[in-house]
Symmetry: C2
Subunit: 522 residues, 2 copies
């Protein structure tokens, strides 16, 4: 068995990849192709579809941690020793000593160049989010880790954005560590914080990211006091005495309306008398909309209209939407102003955020789009699969975001690197996989164009500074403001277009024809 620390080094370094990346890399080495420059694109094919509703956009996340991994990772002696132990079915060494020597000398990401969309940006299906260029063997080995980092964090950032939108901008607290996937829960918390969560209960990641961790207390605290002969009121008093300025009380251990809230109000009165401001109550079971209304009513009557009401328990975007709709409708019957009630809500969102409930994996892929030919020229690559929608966009390219006359994003356009795209000029947008389908934007409909990618990795190091959450969150906020409200809709969103330019469309068509011809000839 491997010791935990050694295991971490072994499983989270260069061997954090799929076996076939290494066997393919060796094949390229055998054939002298391993250092040919190759281009790979990272993109996803579908925004998450949660069953009864689909995302209209995604929020890109995970890049910062991927770049760190690429900076610090290389094949080390312990990795190479393990690879040297692998045996074929015939009992011979699977990896040639020469190949392992090459990995020992060149098995890092220093010769890889990467352009990417910055984290926090709103992104869409089919457009390349990361474009990688580098020696064929090492770009292939990078694939698995790149997909792992970007797929999961983009998935969770997207869900967090939806939860935040459904919650009408009230604070979202990420509570998922206990139901999250081992240490991956830290990545999930980070992604949630980029995508729409305001804080997390996860202590370690909060400190790593410079945030204050948030929390209330558990049922077990009330139970412990009860078992020791006290009651809920005594438990609340104890909590208030230790945290007089951050006192949020969980009111559903015994009975929310008949015990929890009356006890909380009694303690809040004591806090107020002592010059403190009570912070809130937390509802964690039952009909959260109804209980929130009744809690607001009781707290208002007792003179605590400013005390927050924290909701938790299986929340996600649809649950929040339904709860807020119910509050809008039902609160007036109890003499409670729905707007004032919503303005005091806080959401604790756990399981359904950290697991992206309804759609637990982004289908992001990393596809070969070009390779250096024997003459040193760049040869675009294409894959002829059964479905045209699965085809990557060949060659080197640039992605432009096109803003319309309202200043809203109207399409993302994949163009050749030297193709002139400018505001105030008409544009033809081709469908990425249906030939002959296109739309034309008049000059007046192109108010602004923006390149989405920046250079992020070169010479073995990130070429961008590590970013703080604020920068990534600001990008998301700005992009959402410039997104059509129909695309932001929670259910059945309007489809955002990712299109190909004239030149890229022609290249794609020519390549498909050539590949089909070539294959028939062989």
């Amino acid at each position: 068995m491997t010791e935990p620390r050694d295991r971490r080094a072994l499983t989270e370094g260069a061997l954090f990849t799929d076996q076939y990346q290494l066997t393919m890399a060796q094949l390229y080495w055998q054939r002298g192709l391993h250092e040919r420059r190759a281009r790979f694109d990272y993109f996803f094919r579908h925004a998450p579809d949660y069953g009864e509703h689909q995302a209209g956009y995604c929020v890109f996340a995970g890049l910062g941690w991927l770049l760190e991994w690429m900076e610090e990772t290389r094949f080390v002696a312990a990795d190479l020793e393990r690879l040297a132990e692998q045996r074929t079915s015939a009992g011979t060494a699977r990896f040639d000593e020469g190949f392992l020597r090459w990995l020992s000398a060149h098995g890092d990401f220093s010769s890889i160049t990467m352009r990417a969309v910055p984290e926090g940006r709103v992104v869409h299906a089919h457009e390349p989010l990361v474009m990688v260029e580098g020696p064929l063997a090492m770009t292939q080995i990078l694939e698995t880790s790149l997909l792992n980092h970007l797929n999961y964090q983009t998935l969770i950032a997207t869900k967090a954005s939806r939860v935040s939108e459904a919650g009408r901008g009230r604070p979202v607290l990420e509570f998922g560590l206990r139901r999250g996937p081992d240490t991956g829960a830290n990545a999930g918390a980070r992604a949630a914080l980029i995508g729409g969560a305001d804080f997390t209960s996860n202590v370690g990641i909060s400190h790593a990211l410079g945030l204050d961790p948030k929390g209330t207390h558990a049922h077990s605290m009330v139970q412990a006091f009860m078992a020791l002969g006290g009651g809920e009121l005594e438990a609340f008093r104890a909590y208030a005495s230790v945290y007089p300025d951050d006192c949020i009380l969980l009111v559903d251990t015994v009975d929310t309306l008949h015990s929890g809230i009356p006890h909380a109000i009694a303690v809040f009165e004591e806090l107020r008398a002592a010059g403190h401001r009570p912070a809130g109550v937390r509802l964690d079971s039952g009909d959260l909309a109804y209980l929130a209304i009744r809690a607001a009513q009781m707290l208002d009557d007792a003179g605590f209209p400013e005390v927050a009401i924290v909701l938790s328990s299986e929340l996600d975007e649809l649950a929040l939407w339904q709860i807020l709709s119910q509050i809008d409708e039902e609160a007036p019957r109890y003499g409670v102003d729905p707007e004032a009630l919503v303005a005091r809500l806080v959401y604790g969102v756990g399981t359904r955020l950290i697991t992206s409930h309804g759609h637990p994996a982004l289908d992001g892929v990393f596809k070969l789009v070009g390779i250096e030919g024997a003459d040193g020229a760049d040869v675009p690559a294409i894959k002829l699969s059964e479905s045209p929608a699965k085809m990557p966009i060949p060659g080197d390219k640039v992605v432009w975001r096109i803003y319309d006359e309202r200043g809203l994003a109207t399409a993302d356009l994949v163009a050749a690197t030297d193709e002139p795209i400018a505001p105030g000029t008409p544009l033809v947008l081709h469908h990425p996989h249906h030939d002959g389908v296109s739309r034309t934007l008049a000059a007046s409909e192109v108010s602004e164009v923006e390149r989405l990618h920046v250079d992020v990795f070169h010479g073995g190091a990130a070429t961008v500074e590590p970013e703080d959450l604020a920068a990534m969150r600001a990008r998301r906020g700005e992009d959402l403001e410039r997104l059509d409200p129909g695309v932001r809709r929670l259910v059945n969103p309007h489809r955002y277009h990712v299109s190909l330019s004239e030149r890229v469309k022609h290249l794609q068509r020519d390549l498909i024809q050539a590949a089909k011809r070539q294959n028939i000839e062989r």
Copy 2:
């Protein structure tokens, strides 16, 4: 920003917990309750419900890594410095220096004792799988990490068991790293290997667990050869020349039936002529059942009846069940023997296994069931929540598995520690949360009884040796053999009973009544 290595130490050590565990621990410290012995149970309430089908059992996993974490984790200076920086809303230090000193001296798991079901065993809802005893503050702090480790791995081991059962015992390869949750994907691969996967493509975790990593090649390899002026056949030849004894060829890059399989057969003939045994083909798109039949037919006709057919692409237990049913029905029409075809299948299962598609989180909880009173006696604790099904089972206890006259497991029974449970004596089994519902087993129906828990942690160290995969897999295999086939069924399984003994039932009833009285009085 935090450097990656520092970040890992900060986010995966003692601060890998929820904030409220620390604030509650401080409250207990303030009140002098922090070292009171407390009992907590870990259990789940529902087997995963994947939407259109629910699991009839779970496979317990994650314990080994939890024990390692508990052995190596304690509050270190860097953790305490961060906690000392936290501020309340009033701007004062949130954590008292005295409390942080206590954490510095006692902030480890050395005074915690743990009994648990061994990994790999078949387990059921409502029974305690782990029973923890220790000082109130540290057991509370342990909660989050314990839940995180056990919930995720048990979830994935359970899914893997279902996939393996659906696949009629043919090899399952775990392929999920690229769609898995950051480093949590390593835990997911481990759990899959415990629960039913035979191998994984994840190189690092394979070596950490002493397995040979498995893989074939990617479409990109064929594409690269095509872009460089060659074709699929040349790509296959190259691969076969480097891996003549492990040659599995991915045949769907161009066209499975008209290009991929004919090219593979051509290369296999060359391999055979050179004295090698071709290993297999992989189908990764299209109608896998139909393509497997046609591939088998073509390979048989070419004299390769022993070559494996690897299926991949969005597989899970229902997909496999459907594919195998279709093969049973359709293969004879093509002159292919369905049994012989199934006997050459291998499954690559990625996204839907590592994310437990359809049910992405186990609802395991960690509940206070007892605490040391002022007089040193053990006081059972209970939680009066809205739903009886949410109530933990109070006090100290033992879980017995009861085998019937067929030698099959018929119920798990939660009993008091000193309650006599023996084979050949009648037993009354009470429903865990419906009063008055019970069934009686006659003496002849109790052929064997077995205690499920073993001591696993004491004095700061695991009291069991680290286990290898074989031991955990053997447990799963034995338990499945002794499980009623109705409970193993993939869809709409028969419900397995977890029951309470007479004495535990009485204790539960008395406590509920006392708690209700006590709360009304206060």
